[in-house]
């Protein structure tokens, strides 16, 4: 993936490394099955 971002997509190495780290966290987020009816935040209302 790093090679793709840096050489094929032409994205800076530093950004690519950060993006890879970010996507590893995104995988965790997307890996939790949630009920269909669950709405997004906000958590509290004033």
């Amino acid at each position: 993936l790093l090679e793709y971002w840096t050489e094929i997509a032409g994205i800076d190495t530093g950004v690519a490394a950060q993006f890879i780290a970010l996507m590893s966290q995104a995988d965790l987020v997307l890996g939790l099955p949630l009920p269909d009816e669950l709405e997004p935040g906000p958590v509290f209302l004033p």
Binding site: V15, L22, A26, V29, G31, L32, L34, L38, V43, P46
Partner: protein, 473 residues
């Protein structure tokens, strides 16, 4: 030197709590001018090495102090923080000062035309604002190793970081340059530096304190709150700062709930839950020992689990990058060379994050908040480390989490991120590790129960478990 000036010199040296200092100024035992002069002298002496302040308001502070003395002489009530030296993170607007938020880019902006609401409230309570404090660029970091303004050094060991992103604010309180500071906390930026600098820090419920006049980072995760050297001072500052402000759409309309009158109530009947799982995996022996010492104060305590905390932390991580990237998009396009490269790369990566992740992270947020609410049906307070370990050394790039080497920058907030993700109030309380440096514990309570967390902090302080003064474990 007059007797009043001599007293003030002692007070400015950090011997006094904010509450005692204000009482003495109100009684005219000390002049606000002399207290301010002494505090400014300490900043002159120590800031060149510690780098807590990026702007010091030498003349303005003395002018404000003289004005306060005149009001006291005229018989006016000078306020609960009369003459108390304070500082604010460099993302709060201070009239006449350019708000830089730790960046080079914002240096080109116009000076703020008015004070942030919380700055105004501090001044209305008689506090004397001494200046603006160093931070990670745009609040995106946990170490305050700022590429433009230098690193803030830890007052307990100058070779170590102060933590971040409110590092200047925590270090200035720890070094007794001020009695109270204001910081902000999106993912742990009050709690991490409080932990490393050995001071008390309050991250209130999301929406409790108005952010009006502060530079944002992630609109639905940004909190603001105070640092202090005692739980009593922290509660006093919090009480002064409370109140609705319609200019912050997230700010609560709930009435002010004063914490100070509740501090003496103790914790005998409280049930404490020690968070296990994610909140102990990777924690150092020092961090776990600190939590155990705090837990030992509670007669009723048990280990409890907050499910999927690792995913909650991941969701906060993703939302931060995406929202931060969106906030700074124009600056990333037009002035990428003026960012700290490490900050810029993280923000740029955030702009590439698929929308699916952002939506799912927000849905996960609501689910996780419900899990926390279920836990609070069984316990009154939750306990967890603030940081996985004591402060790393300046320039250190990686750290060991139970034998696994990980980059420092994104991992110092692994225990704070899941909690701020769902907006719960936390008081960071300072303990002292066997190896020397301080380390903090999070005292977490249900939404809007800041007073309970502060009451726990005060009880721990009375029991000698927590202190901003070095104590042996």
């Amino acid at each position: 030197m007059s007797a009043r000036s001599a007293n003030a010199a002692a007070a400015g040296a950090g011997a006094e709590t904010a509450i005692n200092l204000a009482a003495r100024v109100r009684r005219a035992e000390l002049s606000a001018e002399a207290v301010t002069s002494a505090a400014l002298a300490r900043i002159r002496a120590h800031n060149p090495s510690l780098n807590c302040f990026t702007t010091v308001l030498y003349e303005q502070a003395l002018t404000d102090a003289r004005r306060l003395d005149a009001r006291i002489a005229a018989g006016e009530d000078p306020g609960a923080l009369a003459g108390v030296p304070v500082g604010v993170k460099d993302l709060f607007d201070v009239q006449g000062v350019v708000t830089r938020a730790g960046s080079k880019i914002l240096t080109d902006g116009a000076p703020a035309s008015s004070d942030a609401v919380l700055v105004r409230r501090l001044r209305a309570a008689g506090a004397i604002l001494l200046g603006c404090q160093n931070m990670d660029e745009f609040a995106y970091g946990f170490t305050t190793e700022n590429a433009h303004y230098g690193a803030t050094r830890n007052p307990h060991d100058p070779q170590r970081v102060a933590g971040g992103s409110s590092g200047g604010s925590a270090a200035a309180v720890a070094a007794a340059l001020v009695a109270v500071s204001l910081g902000s906390d999106t993912n742990g930026s009050i709690r991490v530096p409080a932990s490393f600098c050995g001071v008390f820090g309050l991250k209130p419920t999301f929406g409790r304190l108005p952010r009006t006049g502060s530079f944002p980072f992630v609109h639905d995760l940004d909190h603001v709150g105070p640092f202090a050297r005692t739980a009593t001072d922290l509660a006093l500052a919090y009480d002064v700062l409370q109140g609705h402000d319609a200019s912050d759409p997230a700010c609560t309309v709930r009435p002010i709930e004063a914490a100070s009158p509740q501090l003496a109530n103790g914790v005998d009947t409280m049930r404490a839950g020690v968070l296990d799982g994610w909140f102990e995996e990777g924690a150092s022996d020092e961090a776990l020992a600190a939590v155990a010492r705090v837990a030992g104060t509670f007669r009723l305590r048990a280990n409890v689990s907050l499910p999927e905390a690792k995913r909650a932390r991941a969701a906060a991580f993703c939302l931060t990058a995406a929202s931060g990237g969106a906030l700074h998009l124009e600056r990333l396009r037009n002035r990428p060379q003026d960012f700290d490269p490490a900050t810029r790369d993280r923000l740029l990566a955030g702009t590439l994050l698929p929308a699916t992740v952002v939506v799912q992270a927000q849905r996960l947020r609501r689910w996780f908040a419900a899990q926390a609410a279920i836990l609070f049906e069984k316990v009154d307070v939750l306990l967890a480390p603030c940081t996985p370990d004591v402060a790393p050394r300046i320039g250190q790039k990686t750290m060991s989490l139970r034998g696994i080497e990980v980059p420092i920058r994104p991992n110092l907030g692994i225990y704070t991120q899941p909690i701020s993700f769902v907006g719960l109030p936390v008081v960071a309380v300072p303990l002292w590790s066997a190896s020397g440096p301080p380390i903090g514990v999070q005292v977490i309570t249900p939404a809007w129960k800041e007073a309970r967390a502060l009451r726990v902090a005060a009880a721990l302080e009375r029991h000698g478990i927590v202190s901003a003064q070095r104590i042996r474990p």
